[in-house]
């Protein structure tokens, strides 16, 4: 899985295996993907041993600079691109990675290797000068925050890179090194230094992790999803992470780079879209999805890029999933004999089970009758009560046994007691990050925010039903249903396993 480039670095070339303790968790999973026959962009690793040596003597091992150069030369040979020059520039990412993942470690620096000359080369290569310049700007911002550890100034998109560098130098009180090679060396050093950040040190102390095991640094070639019509980027879930249905689910952005997916600048297309331009990459992706799901025994979230028809896998990790998906996937994987029951039981948390059994409206549309008010759904659930517009009154009437719904223009800490007392919270102003939204979620109260100015004050004294899932306030007390095992065979199956396991646990407990 790795080949030595000297004392301190290893190329992940798919040959002889390397210990996770030496190359760190992130490089290890990249190497593992290669072992499974999957295509990952070429990478080399500065080992944890180099970090330990740096921390011991307070400086990099003397040979490290030459070995970094050898690593870069290896990446150049693998990709046919050149670092810091040429018509097809090589850009790399630099990321930290200890054997055990921990907080406080350096964030990933992307696009290292871009400068004025390579920006021009990249612009010509992808035919998109704006993209090349934006890549340059994003690199400088990341470098300033992550490596120079300054607060990045807002870089004016219209300014020149020279002006950007000057702006950063003023704000951070430090210069960005002139050459890509020096930038790489500084980024590697910043990873080593992050080993002793406040957060990392506390984490190790709290979790009894030795202070001297060090972190590795992975340097990986960047791939480009925007070079031509046969390039693109996307994400695939091996199963639907919202409802858990077994078909792969994902999005593809033709002719786009990874950041574009996050920025929301473009509307992604369903994966099938790949059939039009890159059918082989889609076939390879679906095959890789099966391999990775089997390897991990769990639904995977896979990031990928297609560069000139060639598929590259960037990352695969256990997918975040909504409660219904967690249940369905856990039960299905047992049925498919991928995992055992004990594992399935760890895949659905108590909180998720509670969410699945949350009361909901019998008719979420209320027979088509328009709601009294509607806004942004901030916290799901159904709450029914009389509308009260003052937090003290809400507390008083709730204490007397009444069900109340608290309606406020906005909320502040002064309203906390009223929010705790209420069955639901509705506000006129504010969005999903407002105080009302944050506090109601922390209290588990159904909440609708931003219903509009004066939309709620006239509801005072009326009985309403708040649906925090759809973001609606309905007139009167609507019928609710409480889902249980009889309504969902998978839930019934899961609960049966859970009871059996609990009983067994109990028997073990009694002498």
């Amino acid at each position: 899985m790795a080949r030595s480039l000297g004392t301190w670095t290893l190329a992940l070339d798919g040959s002889a295996s390397a210990e996770k303790s030496l190359i760190g968790g992130k490089a290890w999973s990249l190497a593992r993907m290669r072992e499974l026959g999957l295509q990952v962009p070429p990478a080399f690793v500065v080992t944890t041993r180099a970090c330990t040596e740096y921390l011991r003597q307070g400086a990099e091992p003397a040979e490290l600079a030459a070995e970094l150069a050898a690593g870069i030369a290896w990446l150049e040979a693998q990709t046919g691109r050149r670092f810091g020059g040429g018509s097809q520039p090589l850009l790399v990412s630099v990321r930290s990675g200890a054997a055990i993942s921990m907080p406080g470690m350096m964030d990933t620096v992307l696009n290292l290797g871009i400068d004025d000359a390579t920006e021009a080369a990249l612009a010509a290569e992808c035919g998109d000068p704006a993209f090349a310049k934006d890549t340059h700007r994003r690199f400088l911002e990341l470098y300033a925050t992550i490596v120079l550890r300054g607060t990045a100034p807002e870089l004016d998109r219209a300014a020149t890179p020279a002006q950007w560098r000057e702006q950063i130098a003023t704000a951070a009180g430090a210069m960005i090194p002139a050459t890509a090679v020096e930038q790489l060396q500084a980024a590697v050093r910043a990873v080593f230094e992050s080993w002793n950040s406040r957060r990392a040190k506390r984490y190790r102390q709290h979790n009894n992790i030795p202070d001297d095991i060090g972190t590795a640094v992975t340097v990986q070639a960047m791939v480009f999803g925007n070079l031509d019509a046969h390039s693109g980027t996307g994400v695939l879930f091996t199963r639907n992470p919202l409802d858990g249905s077994p078909a792969p689910y994902g999005e593809y952005l033709p002719r786009a780079q990874g950041e574009d997916v996050v920025s929301g600048k473009f509307t992604p297309k369903p994966l099938d879209e790949m059939n039009k331009t890159v059918p082989d990459a889609l076939a390879g992706l679906l095959a890789a999805a099966r391999v990775l799901e089997a390897e991990h025994g769990d639904v995977q979230d896979i990031e990928f890029t297609v560069q000139q028809s060639k598929l590259w896998l960037l990352q695969s990790r256990a997918a975040k999933r909504a409660a219904p998906a967690a249940l369905r996937i856990a039960v299905d994987l047992v049925d498919e004999k991928r995992i055992d029951i004990a594992t399935a039981l760890t895949r659905v948390t108590g909180e998720q089970l509670a969410a699945l059994m949350n009361p909901r409206l019998a008719d979420s549309d209320n027979g088509g009758k328009p709601p009294l008010a509607s806004g942004e759904a901030a916290c799901p659930g159904v709450g029914i009560g009389v509308v009260v517009t003052d937090s003290d009154e809400a507390e008083r009437r709730a204490a007397a046994g009444e069900d109340v719904v608290l309606a406020r223009p906005t909320t502040s800490p002064e309203d906390l007691h009223g929010m705790i007392a209420a069955k639901a919270i509705i506000t006129e102003q504010g969005g999903s990050t407002s105080h009302a939204a944050v506090v109601s979620r922390s209290l588990g109260r159904p909440c609708v925010v931003g219903c509009g100015e004066n939309a709620l004050s006239q509801l005072k004294g009326r009985i309403v039903t708040v649906c925090g899932k759809e973001g609606r306030v309905h007139e009167g007390a609507l019928p609710v249903i409480k889902p249980d095992e009889s309504s969902d065979p998978r839930l019934a199956q899961f609960m049966q396993w859970k009871r059996a396991a609990d009983e067994q646990e109990e028997r073990k407990g009694t002498p």
């Binding site: 256990a318 967690a326 007691h417």
Partner: protein
């Protein structure tokens, strides 16, 4: 102008409703005996209401309190470094709100769903981001406390909440019932808005 105890205790109640004398004392940095005396006096004069050892502001007292800040904090409002630090706080506040939302909800295939804390990697990542943000914000807290020493208490409480969350007690991120990171942050925001005579924008 020196701020009298009578103003400070009512200010404390404006930030922390239903607080007892102990909690008010901690928040405003006055010995608990003096807080008790001032609170008893406020109750006598109808400016505060006591129920089972906890206090709230009387409605009229709230209005007169709001009018007092410009008198006691005119120096602070003219202190350029304090004002700059406050404005920095407002900028980080935008980040904090996004972060808390990412804590409470998570993005699943482009859809926001409640974070049921089933994905440890997601939770760790958010707490790590919170720690990173805190380290930057702490420089602002230091400048705020340099302008008004009693603000140091917020700095201490924020760090305490952060470290509990980092050690795995995740309710210390945003639980509204305890002095979680978000609770203290929000109180500090309320405090600063009052000192500076600004109003909250949602």
């Amino acid at each position: 102008m020196a701020t009298p105890d009578s103003h400070l205790v009512l200010h404390g109640l404006a930030i922390k409703k239903h607080a007892d004398a102990e909690a008010v004392s901690k928040l405003i940095g006055l010995p608990v005996d003096r807080v008790k005396t001032a609170l008893a006096d406020a109750v006598k004069r109808g400016r505060a209401v006591e129920a089972q050892g906890r206090y709230i502001l009387a409605p009229m007292a709230r209005m007169s309190l709001d009018g007092e800040y410009s008198k006691y904090y005119s120096d602070l409002r003219a202190n350029a470094d304090f004002v700059a630090a406050y404005e920095g706080f407002e900028r980080v506040n935008v980040e904090l709100k996004t972060l808390i939302t990412d804590w409470q909800t998570m993005d699943v295939a482009g859809k926001r769903v409640p974070n049921d804390h089933s994905n440890e990697a997601h939770d760790q990542r958010v707490i790590d981001r919170l720690g990173e943000m805190h380290e930057r914000a702490d420089k602002l807290f230091a400048r705020l406390a340099a302008g008004l020493p009693r603000l140091q208490i917020y700095r201490d409480h924020l760090l305490a909440a952060l470290e509990k969350a980092e050690d795995g007690a995740i309710e210390w991120v945003s639980d509204a019932r305890i002095d979680s990171y978000h609770t203290v942050w929000f109180e500090l925001h309320e405090e600063l808005l009052r000192l500076m005579g600004r109003t909250r924008t949602e």
